[in-house]
Amino acid sequence: MRVLSPEDVDRVALGAQFLACSIDPTTMLMYSDMTRMAMTSHTLTLASLDDLAPDDLVVAVGLVSQGLLMAEMPPCGDEMLGCLAAVERAVGRRAAAIFPLAAANLNAIVPMLTALQAGLPVVDADPMGRVFPLISQTTLNAAGVNIGPVALMGANGERILIEVGNARRAEALVRAATEELGGWAASAMYPCTVSQLRDHGVIESVSRMITLGHILESVEPLATKYRKLSDALGTSRVARAQVAYVESSFGPSDVALPAQPSSLTLSDDGNGRIVRIEIQNEILMVLVDGAVAAAVPDIVTLIDPEKASVVSLDDVRVGDVLDVLKTPADPKWYEPEGLALVGPAAFGLSLAETQP
């Protein structure tokens, strides 16, 4: 077990923002502060899967959003523990540890505080290795690990236990329930054994965020940071360009994703290239002069080169100059089972039509 420091929590937060696009910076800061405060009286431990017994129960905890940022309706503090207890009751076992529902964005940091509240370690693994919009888009689901039972609790105190096996059905039920709970819900799901998580999860994903945070927090020139990101994660820069348009579209979609698609169009002043970024909750695809430069499951990050900080999609404005970075996702996602769940076609995008 590794004891995490308050600085590690900040690094997790930085790394978590790099691996996501739609960041809620207020809640990220609030959770970081609350976690650091809780660490003054409790120890936060990061467990490798080898630290736990193969049959130990581990449970994913995280937020599900449908309609509202957590920042708009701050948590009361008992939601995550309520969900964890509900799943433990349903499966008849106590969890030995918890793991993040996604090792990115808020779902990377929320389990830190939950672990402190519950007196449990956080496992250095997760089922996404980044964040995807749907709770069915996990390596655990791709391997056939059961998502249910799923426990939800909203900030208004209402609780729901969904006894479900099929992840797509779980997605539909959870999404509908979350909207009625106010727009976000605390959740616990994917109760599984340590062996299952070891075989089918994305391993050492929390450590990776700490490494990322180390790189991003340094005062080195951005070029040096980019070199380190390339060495550590295979990150490459797709373009530096200026935002020309921000658009929403209302085209028909067969894909049950939250929110409608939107697009950013950027122009690269240096060489006249046109960069188009397709978004639906997360960045799904980047086109440069019509050619695919990145597409899900690739991780796309927007960086403000003046401040060397990650830019949230909500903060992008016409006229902004952005660096567009591409980082490969976990190799599991590029296998056929992974691509079926999170490849471009899973988001209703046809790569064939976008090739030049």
Partner: protein, 432 residues
């Protein structure tokens, strides 16, 4: 002629520009008396043989926080915090105020649907604990109020029933989808209202005597200006206008409408981006780990070329050092030397600026286009009503986008219209 006034605690500067944007006069002196405006307006009145078209005042340095009156912050959300860790702390800059926080059950979701009924009775009971002869200023923040302000309005009604002369700020006047940031912004605004009222009264009185009929404005944090009569209602928008005006002044001297402008002064170097002739903006002013201020504000950061991945050439480097003995960064080469107070110049050339930022419901592109067009026209009317010539108005931002993980068909619409914009032709006061 247009005049811009920069006010600090002990000093004032005035810059006047003519209709072509040329600098025609400047004036600076220390402030000794309680009310500096008669003297400043007298100087402006005697400066020009032609009519004074507008006066814009940067009052950010003179606004002061409420210390006398009782301040009440009403927070409406579905449930109170379950443990001390999850309680929203009072931000440090409000801790010296006589601030009482009242938590009330209520709130809406982003579709505007009620999550919980508003517990008016508990608010009324809490207000009974405050002496009825207290002069009260208050802020009200409800979960989901940007989608449905019903509970904030009901709480304001309850406040005004108990304290008929209370000044109340509702958080939905400031767009942010963060409860904490809106709560802070509304409370700050409430704490600044008395000061804003007093300054507005002094400025209007001086203008009536010295410059009768001349429209007077105050500068806001996006680098624009709005009528002075609004200062008492939304003083928080004036709090951080200075930096934005400095960028507007630098942009005017450097004749740059697009690109990065570096300003070096005695305190160091800062960089801001100008887009379409006005500062590029953030929707909030972030303050490290503390709550952000939900005001549209110019994006200005400390200049640090070491962060850049490759050499980037700013569009202009404006040297505003008070004298050459102040050292300048070795990696910067001045392109314009400022001989005037950039903030006062920025105030003189600041355009009228109106924003709309709200959540709308649209289920088709046509519907969205209609929203945008209607919003643009509303803002054009507003800016014309404030004094702009209709042909001088233009849309500098018009976007509509879905919120990630948001409800389907809920879109955030942001439009900015400016008017009475000054071309960047000034050269007086600048040397190259």
């Amino acid at each position: 002629m247009r005049a811009g006034i920069r006010l600090e605690k002990d000093r004032s500067s005035v810059v006047a520009v003519d209709a072509d944007g040329e600098i025609v006069g400047e004036y600076s002196h220390s402030i000794g008396q309680e009310d500096p405006f008669p003297e400043l307006f007298d100087w402006i009145a005697h400066r020009s043989n032609v009519g004074v078209r507008s006066v814009t005042v940067d009052v950010g340095g003179l606004l002061s926080m409420e210390r006398e009156r009782q301040v009440v912050a009403v927070r409406i959300r579905p449930r109170p915090a379950a443990d001390p860790l999850h309680e929203l702390p009072v931000p440090p800059d409000l801790r010296d105020s006589r601030l009482t926080v009242i938590d009330v059950t209520g709130g809406h979701d982003m579709r505007g649907r009620r999550l919980m009924d508003l517990e008016v009775a508990s608010l009324t009971a809490a207000l009974r604990g405050i002496s009825s002869d207290t002069e009260l200023v208050a802020s009200v923040t409800a979960v989901g109020s940007v989608a449905n302000p019903e509970h904030e309005q009901q709480a304001a009604d309850a406040l005004l029933s108990a304290f008929p002369f209370a000044r109340v700020t509702l958080s939905n006047e400031f767009f942010s989808n963060s409860f904490r940031d809106r709560d802070y912004t509304a409370a700050m605004n409430a704490c600044l209202m008395s000061s804003g009222d007093q300054l507005a009264a002094q400025i209007e009185q001086a203008a009536r005597v010295q410059l009768p009929g001349v429209p007077v404005y105050f500068a806001v944090s996006d680098g624009g200006r709005v009528p002075i009569r609004r200062l008492g209602a939304t003083p928080v928008n004036a709090l951080h206008a200075g930096a934005a005006l400095g960028l507007m002044g630098a942009r005017h001297l450097a004749a740059v409408d697009e690109g990065e402008i570096v300003i070096t002064d005695d305190a160091g170097a800062q960089v801001g981006r100008v887009h379409a002739g006005v500062p590029a903006t953030h929707t909030v002013i972030r303050r490290g780990r503390e709550p952000a201020l939900a005001c549209n504000a110019a994006r200005i950061d400390p200049y640090s070329p070491s962060l850049l991945g490759e050499p980037e050439r700013p569009a202009a480097v404006v040297d505003a050092r008070s004298h050459d003995a102040v050292s300048m960064r070795g990696d910067l080469e001045s392109t314009v030397r400022a001989r005037v107070d950039l903030t006062a110049l920025g105030a003189a050339v600041a355009p009228l600026s109106a924003w709309a930022d709200f959540l709308g419901h649209a289920s088709s592109s046509d519907e969205l286009d209609s929203w945008l067009r209607a919003t643009q026209e509303d803002l054009r009317s507003q800016v014309v009503h404030w004094g702009a010539a209709p042909e001088s108005t233009r849309v500098v931002e018009s976007t509509a986008y879905t919120l990630a993980y948001g409800s389907r068909h809920v879109v955030r619409i942001r439009v900015r219209v400016i008017g009475d914009w000054v071309e960047t032709t000034a050269r007086a006061g600048a040397t190259i």
